[in-house]
Amino acid sequence: MKEQLDQIFSRHHGTRDALIPVLQDIQAEYGYLPPEAMEAAARFCRVAPVEVYGVSTFYAQFKFSPVGRNLVMVCQGTACHVMGGARVLEEVQSRLGIRPGQTTADGRFTLETVACIGACALAPAMVVNKDTFGRVKPEKIMEMLNGSGS
């Protein structure tokens, strides 16, 4: 881990304002923020570890446990709400048997909700990894999940 972290740190200045970008890079590398990496980030940005914890828990983006191989994000924005986004979420939850923030037992899927992905014209929308799906029909959800990712 040290080598990877050093490589991440080499792209930043070790100052306070680099903290969030450093954490973002760590998460891009590991999929979440491992505790050792957060401590290393604290030393690098010269802040107390508790500060790193405080900042990272404030933002919705940061995760503290490993995520599944595929990230499913169901949009719950206004347009999606009006167009049936809650139904889509219910269906994904029941199909995968997990709630937002959880990962399936086989480690294949992590489910998250997102406040708006700005694809309002395609509502209801969901994102699987990097693929955006628009006008999602609840009955087509398994197809989308099976079709993308590993």
Binding site: G77, V82, M83, A119, D131, T132
Partner: protein, 602 residues
């Protein structure tokens, strides 16, 4: 649009514009683009036909879209396998692929030139002037349509003259506040300080607004140019774009734009030999709605929790890293190059007396054509919905339009003619906000809508001040009780009291505006609240706890739509008989209610 943006190159016969905004890209626009390049090469059209990818045209509903210029042929819902037909029929033989043309919903006639479409025709594109026409990843394309002329002109003027020009334009902040941009710049310009900062707020957090995303994805250089002009005017040499984490494509294209502008020497030391230094850094947000608030945004850039601070001191005096700072939003910056090249007077000639220029609205929800529309300030809501948006689908009735997202309110049918500008919207209890415009019809429950927004603001409240932290929670609990049929009128009165207290007592805009959706729905749809509380009924049949899931035999037209829609086989129906719902099998998914056109399920 069009005339201001498309500059045809004489040596090229056709331009094929492939939209690769988030909407179209999600439907394989990348494949359409590469197929077009292959087909053009295969048919020996290289050099005669230019295939170009662009940002969003705005009509996301009909995506993926391909536009052939200069004819203006607009192909909708294009699939990758349609490409060879487009190349052969249109580009080689001068015809059209008729089945892909847009069909006017009223006249049922095919439209050959997008400029004749009711969606585009009434629009006036200033902010979106280049979106859909320039390649957002090519600085030369932006330059070819007059890009970076505004900053060149500004650098020949004094800082004060630039500010005066912006003041003259009457441009007001497009992020939601509506504060006059020129005045904001003047404060920061006059504020003493060795280092000043400029920030572009691209943390477009309002669910339902996506114009800033579209501008950064479709025309990022116009934002950079706007920022350069602002930086010069106020004397800021360092700038940040704070972009939402949920917009990876906007981030990517902004990054490319900054790199290209830096390579050209448009950013960096001594830009355009003026002696003015200017650099832009891109910061990626980490998912916190409150960071759209300017003091919270600055805390986030500094690497802290994104919590707001009391003002004064205002950012113009003590902002980022304690230095004078000016913050404007993406759409505001995208207007600036035009204000410089065409002049403040020209800009002020568009719009109403106190709201100048245009506004981009993100039109979505229960509307036939959702997408981005840019209209002169003062255009009536009715025209946006009925003409540009093509009306409400499925012959349902317009109920209300929600503007300003979780900080805004709704505009009911009784105000359908309201000219959309800052003053009018405030007067009827809504706000311009960042420009989200969500259309609802009779199947939308306004209490549920208010609950939806409070769920959002309660979750996004940063927790710093008590009225917002606890007040939004209590309000949400009451709203949940109302939707579940557990509330009484005393709770309802408490809801209104809380709303006023939170409005007056919260530290930042998030809390101060969080009660707006509740107050505004109560103002116009009090009867719906009362139906939930007194009659234990949800008139729109949205709040599941209040729906009986019984067929109303008087209204039932025996069409069987509910039978076909039910995924749980809970509906029995035989022809010429009213349907029956088996409550043991019913999973309360509301599919039958959505399918029923006759309001026959109670």
């Amino acid at each position: 649009m069009g005339a201001e943006a498309s500059k045809s190159k004489p040596d090229i016969g056709h331009q094929v514009l492939v939209c690769r905004g988030t909407g179209c890209e999600s439907q394989k626009a990348n494949l359409i683009y590469s197929n077009l390049q292959d087909e053009v090469r295969k048919h020996g059209l290289t050099g005669l036909v230019e295939v170009k990818f662009t940002g969003c045209h705005g009509l996301c509903q009909m995506g993926p879209t391909v536009v052939i210029m200069p004819a203006g042929t607009f192909y909708c819902n294009v699939q990758p396998e349609d490409v060879s037909e487009i190349v052969e029929a249109d580009l080689m033989n001068g015809g059209h692929v008729e089945r892909l043309l847009f069909v006017d919903p009223k006249s049922k006639e095919k439209v050959f030139d997008y400029r004749d479409m009711k969606f585009f025709n009434p629009q006036r594109r200033i902010v979106l002037r280049n979106c859909g026409f320039v390649n957002p990843e090519d600085i030369d394309d932006y330059i070819s349509v007059g890009g970076y002329e505004g900053i060149r002109k500004a650098l020949r003027m004094s800082q004060v003259d630039v500010i005066n020009e912006v003041k003259k334009s009457g441009l007001r902040g497009r992020g939601g506040g509506g504060f006059p941009t020129g005045m904001k710049w003047e404060f920061c310009h006059r504020s003493p300080g060795d280092q000043k900062y400029l920030i572009c707020n691209a943390d477009e957090g309002d669910p339902g607004a996506f114009m800033d995303r579209a501008v950064l994805e479709g025309d990022p250089h116009s934002v950079l140019e706007g920022m350069m002009i602002a930086g010069y005017a106020i004397g800021a040499t360092k700038a940040y774009i704070y972009c939402r984490a949920e917009y990876p494509m906007a981030y990517e294209r902004s990054l490319i734009a900054i790199e290209q502008a830096t390579d050209r020497g448009y950013l960096g030391k001594n830009i355009f030999d003026s002696g003015f230094d200017f650099e832009i850094k891109l910061k990626l947000g980490a998912g916190a709605f409150v960071c759209g608030e300017e003091t919270a945004l600055m805390a986030s850039i500094e690497g802290k929790r994104g919590m707001p601070n009391p003002r004064p001191p205002f950012p113009a005096v003590k902002g980022l890293f304690g230095k004078p700072t000016n913050i404007n939003n993406v759409e505001t910056f995208a207007n600036i190059p035009v204000v410089m090249t065409k002049g403040g007077d020209w800009f002020a000639s568009v719009g109403t007396e106190r709201s100048k220029g245009t506004k981009v609205f993100a039109l979505a929800g229960k509307i036939n054509y959702s997408g981005l529309v840019e209209i002169p300030m003062g255009t009536p809501l009715k025209e946006i919905i009925e003409e540009i948006g093509g009306g409400i689908p499925n012959k349902r009735k317009f109920k209300a339009a929600q503007t300003g997202g979780p900080s805004g309110g709704c505009i009911p049918a009784s105000h359908f003619e309201t000219p959309m500008d800052y003053e009018n919207l405030t007067q009827i209890g809504s706000i311009m906000g960042s420009g989200g415009l969500i259309v609802t019809d009779e199947t939308t429950c306004m209490v549920d809508m208010a609950r939806f927004f409070l769920t959002f603001t309660q979750k996004e409240s940063c927790g710093k001040c008590v009225p917002c932290r606890l007040g939004t929670k209590k309000m949400l609990e009451i709203l949940q009780d109302i939707c579940a049929g557990r509330a009484n009128m005393r709770d309802f009165n408490q809801l209104m009291e809380l709303a006023e207290d939170i409005k007056g007592g919260s530290l930042c805009g998030l809390g101060q505006t969080a009660p707006n959706p509740v107050l505004s729905t109560i103002r116009y749809f009090r009867d719906e609240y009362e139906a939930h509380i007194i009659n234990r009924e949800c008139p729109a049949r949205v709040c599941v706890d209040l729906i009986k899931f019984e067929v109303n035999e008087e209204n039932c037209k025996m069409c069987g739509a509910c039978f076909k829609a039910c995924p749980a086989e809970a509906v029995t129906w035989v022809k010429k008989q009213p349907a029956v719902i088996d409550k043991d099998k019913c999973i309360k998914c509301r599919s039958c209610i959505l399918a029923c056109k006759y309001h026959a399920i109670d």
